[in-house]
Amino acid sequence: MDFRDSPAEAEFRDRLRAWLAANNPGLPTSSTDDEYWARQAEWHTALYDAGFFGLSWPARFGGHDLPAVFDVILDDELAAAGAPPRPSLGYLVQGISTHGSNAIQERFLPGLISGRERWCQGFSEPDAGSDLASLRTTATRDGDEYVIDGHKIWTSYSDVADWCLLLARTDAGSAGGGAASPHERVPKHKGLSAFAVPMQQPGIEQRPLRMINGITNEFGQVLFDGARVSAANMIGEPGEGWRLAMTIVSHEREPGELGYVARYAKTVRQLEENVCADPSAFRRDQCEAVSWAYVQTEMLRLHVCRRLSERLDGVDHGPGGSIDKLLMTWVEQSVGSAALAVSGARAVTDGDDEALKVYLYSRAQSVMGGTSQIQKNIVATRILGLPTV
């Protein structure tokens, strides 16, 4: 057991720290400002071009073939510099690498990793949230193409995306699709396939959603009405969509894949600085909320160290991602609560208060990527082995 940097890790840390000192773009906190998303692409390509992104991914696709623990160093240093967190797209990389053919990987991974091509994820629908397998968007074969019809929601950054990793029903006989009688239906999660759908085309309508903290550049709905995608853009085999979706959501639940530790640590540092500037202006309960958020954030940082170290054994955590997601959610929401506590009355007299926005944004963490209730079902039945009836 050793939490110290190896010589190679220390060298990487020094190089990263020096680069960040000169190249921190000074973006606002991601959760609270539209400007962040407007300039996020720039940040992604800058981080990538300097050699600090995609650390554990294959070099042939633009990564660096490094052990996953290098991401711990990246998150540490981004937080310490007050820089934006790394782009959260590891789960898409995992999904495409696990299920995509060589041709698909070669076509799409380099652009995804470098940030030259931007992606969104089309899974949820208005009537298919936690029950994702009941989704109704269809992909109908038409020559060398599929025609997409349906309605996706909670699609982050769809308005700036070049590609959408879309989950659609290709087997009209499966539940949720066509008019087949019940006894003819294949189980509803079997008729799904995944595609890389080009977003810049007629037949796609964007409807942004305003989040409860007021930001508009993150969330949206996407309507597909006769949009077209080449059959060659199917990721995995026909009917493999559900397995791909499960690969993606299990990684989407891992803080080590998302890099959110840097965001929490940065916010906690800001809160600590606010209090330190004038400790006498804060009550004990406000200070305690900040200290608890610090304890929680350290817990998550160390938990990610442990999880990414376990990957050195090639351990695939499977349902363990649900544990990490729940821990991450508690951390984000205690950081949000601390921000609200420190802000005090300002949070109710000024609707633009930064801390208020951090707090409001934190409420989404127990829903996005699978609700806390779904994660608890998974932990209880698949990890603890509790009975189902």
């Binding site: 057991m1 050793d2 939490f3 110290r4 940097d5 190896s6 890790e9 623990v69 711990v72 160093i73 600590e272 209090v275 330190c276 400790p279 804060f282 009550r283 004990r284 200070c287 305690e288 900040v290 200290s291 608890w292 610090y294 304890v295 929680q296 350290e298 817990m299 998550l300 160390l302 938990h303 160290c305 442990r306 170290s309 376990e310 050195l312 054994d313 544990i323 729940l326 821990l327 508690w330 209730q373 994660q375 608890k376 079902n377 932990v379 209880a380 039945t381 990890i383 603890l384 082995g385 509790l386 009975p387 189902t388 009836v389």
Partner: protein, 349 residues
């Protein structure tokens, strides 16, 4: 950076868990089985675990904080009714002073069990608590401040017969009353410094955190098994989402606790005394809060039977209460962290 156990650490973890679960009390009735308890104590002694922090050939201790935490975790999980952390912490402190702690020594604490007792007179001015002492005559090490730092001295408690009155039914807390004579300890080759005490506290925080992680894992195993067997409405109660979600929360708290506790145990010997202490405070704050919730969940999921003396879950809860309080509970650690990081004083309104 590689936080996995070394092969030696993994082997120790396996051996300690196996020994503790074989000889620890599986039921409340087992607590009265003196033959079993004696075999556990002999096994822990013969394994050499009480000597982990004794001086090695080169000067540093024989084993690191990680190894001590591995054994503490295993004993916590099995609610092992054997003195371990108490003697090891006494021997660690004695080693730092260049002395040897006599057999059966523990460190004496002032109320509320946060800090090692400071003594200035010929007799003690207030009660001193010997935590995790064995059954014999307790010799509690205390700190005597002087111009150069701290010397070690000791106070002796009487053997107390009859049933224990301690809250934790697996480990003793011996009270040595005020007015007890303070004896010098001969042969100390150096004064203890603030750094020595900080490192020693870091070990105490790490070991009590590891014990709490073990307690959480042990009580969860018992509770998941119970929820899978106990039937109401014709089905196991563990099939109800309301129960499943309580247990899922508890399992996550245990996993997060393990991550902070491992780091605290590694920090003891590998970081500066102040950094090691802060790592210990973070771990203790998290583990103490988590263990309280996890043990309360275990009582709740056991229902009525969980509120009876004969159900083993209160043994875990009682052990968690002592391990939380010892070296300071979550509230104490948060107050320390506020002082360290926010410049907030303890007297703040």
């Amino acid at each position: 950076m590689d936080t996995r156990d070394t092969p030696e650490q993994a082997e120790l973890r396996r051996a300690a868990r196996q020994l503790a679960s074989r000889l620890g009390p599986a039921t409340v009735a087992d607590l009265a089985d003196e033959t079993r308890a004696k075999r556990l104590a002999v096994a822990v002694r013969d394994a050499g675990w009480l000597e982990l922090r004794d001086v090695g050939q080169e000067g540093p201790p024989l084993a690191g904080g990680v190894e001590v935490a591995i054994v503490a975790d295993a004993l916590g999980a099995a609610v092992g009714d054997v003195a371990f952390a108490g003697p090891v912490l006494a021997r660690d402190l004695a080693r730092r002073a260049g002395a040897t702690a006599m057999e059966g020594s523990v460190v004496g604490f002032s109320s509320p069990l946060r800090d090692a007792a400071l003594v200035t007179g010929a007799v003690t001015a207030s009660p001193i608590f010997g935590v995790d002492a064995g059954d014999g005559i307790v010799a509690a090490l205390v700190l005597v401040p002087d111009a150069e730092g701290f010397r070690l001295a000791q106070v002796r408690g009487e053997r107390t017969g009859g049933p224990t009155t301690a809250t934790d039914v697996t480990r003793n807390v011996r009270v040595i009353p005020a007015g007890t004579p303070v004896h010098a300890i001969a042969g100390q080759t150096r004064r203890l410094t603030r750094d020595d005490l900080a490192q020693w506290s870091a070990l105490g925080l790490a070991v009590t955190s590891a014990d709490l992680v073990g307690v959480m894992r042990g009580v969860l195993d018992v509770t998941v098994a119970y929820a899978s067997e106990r039937r109401q409405f014709g089905v196991p109660v563990g099939s109800f989402q309301a129960v499943q979600h309580l247990l899922a929360d508890a399992h996550c708290l245990m996993e997060g606790s393990l991550s902070v506790a491992l780091h605290a145990s590694w920090s003891v010997d590998n970081r500066s005394p102040d950094d090691a202490c802060e790592a210990g405070r973070i771990a203790k704050a998290y583990c103490a809060r988590a263990a309280r919730t996890v043990c309360e969940t275990a009582v709740q999921v056991h229902g009525g039977i969980g509120n009876t003396w004969d159900c083993v879950v209160h043994v875990y809860l009682r052990r968690a209460l002592l391990s939380s309080q010892w070296f300071g509970d979550d509230a104490a650690q948060l107050a320390e962290l506020q002082e360290l990081r926010l410049g907030a004083t303890r007297g703040l309104s």
